[in-house]
Symmetry: C2
Subunit: 324 residues, 2 copies
């Protein structure tokens, strides 16, 4: 249903809070929750590292008695299943006496899948299901895991105007400037795993760590797409088709090279395209994307929707989502 402008604003704020859960909450969904009473925030929470407490539990603990009669904005349907790690959030919310709950996404997890909402309604709480882009974006890893059986996959490319990732000599440091490269590190920090192609691993020996102050411990698992073995510290992905067997990985960040990029694109496994573009012309350099098996130009159209665009100095970041 349609939200009021205030509801939209609070739910978007809950989605922003949910960002804090990444990547620590993995493999649990990173959820954000806000409790609002008379236009003031009386509680807020996000899924804690390891998955508990849940966002709702954290927000309710902060609100205490102030939760009674208030509105809860939560990006994902409160869970309906009890576990030995804590009570079900739907029960907690019902007991806290909230007047209304605005939910960003019904949980595709079969253990909840509407049961959380039913329990809230049985408790006499007004429940609204919303549909908001930032909420969906923040739960894309959870949705991909449950609905597609694989992580949400981002492909990152740093390209010249003419689509090259390196000069013909192989020189690739640097296409983009330091601000764009720092932003890549921040994107790495949001991922559970990073994957590069075998050739890139051998040629560049990329450390793929997060070199941002305070985020060094966020460096994700390193995977290499190869049919061979991998050195210490790397895990092997034999084929993009095996992404369903990457364990607890919910957000996979593919950093190239051209072969790995093409391999994921050819299997239509890229959900999000992150293109950092520098205002330089290389000319006959190394193309950023190898053969993806495109049959006709018409098949290439209609697949990518521009989500956002921003500048990093002279460089531009464009984010595209796969239109499905």
């Amino acid at each position: 249903m349609t939200l009021s402008a205030d509801d939209t604003r609070w739910l978007a704020a809950a989605a922003a809070l949910a960002e804090r859960a990444r990547p620590g909450s993995c493999p649990n969904p990173g959820v954000g929750a806000l409790i609002v009473r008379d236009g003031l925030v009386v509680g807020r929470g996000w899924t804690q590292a390891g998955g508990r407490p849940h966002a709702e539990a954290m927000a309710l603990a902060m609100a205490g008695e102030a939760a009674r009669g208030a509105a809860l904005y939560v990006t994902l349907e409160p869970c309906a299943h009890r576990s030995d790690r804590g009570p079900a959030c739907a029960d907690l919310v019902a007991e806290a006496g909230l007047a209304s709950v605005i939910i960003g996404m019904v949980d595709p997890d079969r253990r909840t899948a509407g049961d959380g909402i039913a329990r809230l309604m049985q408790a006499g709480i007004s429940v609204t299901e919303a549909d908001l882009t930032p909420v969906q974006a923040g739960l894309s890893g959870h949705a991909a895991a449950l609905l597609l059986g694989r992580p949400h996959i981002t492909l990152k490319l740093a390209l010249s105007l003419d689509g090259c990732i390196a000069a013909a000599s192989g020189e690739s440091q640097w296409i983009t400037g330091s601000a764009a490269r720092s932003h890549t590190h921040r994107e790495r920090a949001r991922a559970d795993a990073i994957c590069v192609g075998g050739a890139t691993m051998r040629a560049d020996s990329p450390s793929l760590d997060v070199r941002l102050p305070g985020l060094e411990d966020r460096s994700p698992e390193r995977w290499v797409l190869t049919r061979h073995s991998a050195p210490d510290g790397w895990r092997v992905l034999a084929s993009p088709a095996d992404v369903g067997a990457m364990g607890d990985v919910r957000y996979l960040f593919v950093e190239g090279g051209a072969g790995a990029a093409a391999a994921f694109l050819a299997e239509d496994l890229v959900d999000r395209l992150l293109i950092y573009r520098a205002p330089i012309v290389i000319g006959a350099g190394r193309p950023g994307i190898a053969d993806i098996g495109l049959d006709r130009l018409a098949s290439a159209h209609g697949r990518w929707t521009l989500e956002s665009r921003r500048q990093f100095g002279q460089d531009t970041l464009e984010i595209f989502n796969r239109a499905r």
Copy 2:
């Protein structure tokens, strides 16, 4: 010197008027002129087809007696040389009794080159020289002809996200959508000549005409970059280094393919880069720019400055200027 906000606005309006002169005024500079009195426009003009009347003469004729005591905004210094085609504009302006003249660019033409300004000042008129980007852009062909001895050169590319102008099969219709392609026709209509490479001419037999209602007669001269001969209706450019010998051409529009693009870029002869980018991935397609002889990646940086960006449906046009 610094202009007032009003002066900047009027001079920018004169620059917008100057656009109307293209391409008819060629080889004369396309100038725009506005006469403003008490905040109202009392005369306006732009260089007419074939070069006469000049913009100032047209604006003065419209203003009549209202020009007395008014301000003239003109993108280029009024000419100081009499010709058998009419009196010098500096004399016309002086006789009309204007109070002030705001000039966008001192004429690099040696026959004027400050003499126009001197004549106005001798007549007691207050003269201001300004420096405004849209004015310079509108006179770039004139400046290139006089200062560099060649046309102003735009390179247009229609690219996929990964920098391809065609699939590996050669299929190139279409990368961009109809709105972007219409805009290309409008850009053609502003040019005096269009140039493509020999391979493109042979493979695509492009008509390179302007297919926009009302602008069909604006189709520019067609040139082909080739060491061979050219079919009827085409003129031969043996090398980009020969652009100084293209006759009256002031604005040259290079439309590719990859070889022609690279040939002009390698000679550092591209002043303006027009990149229409479609949100499609081709993968191992035909790159838009062939070898430009880049030695190091560092040499590629600092050459292109983003002037503007706009959407045509799903496609993005980015315009870069050569930073010189």
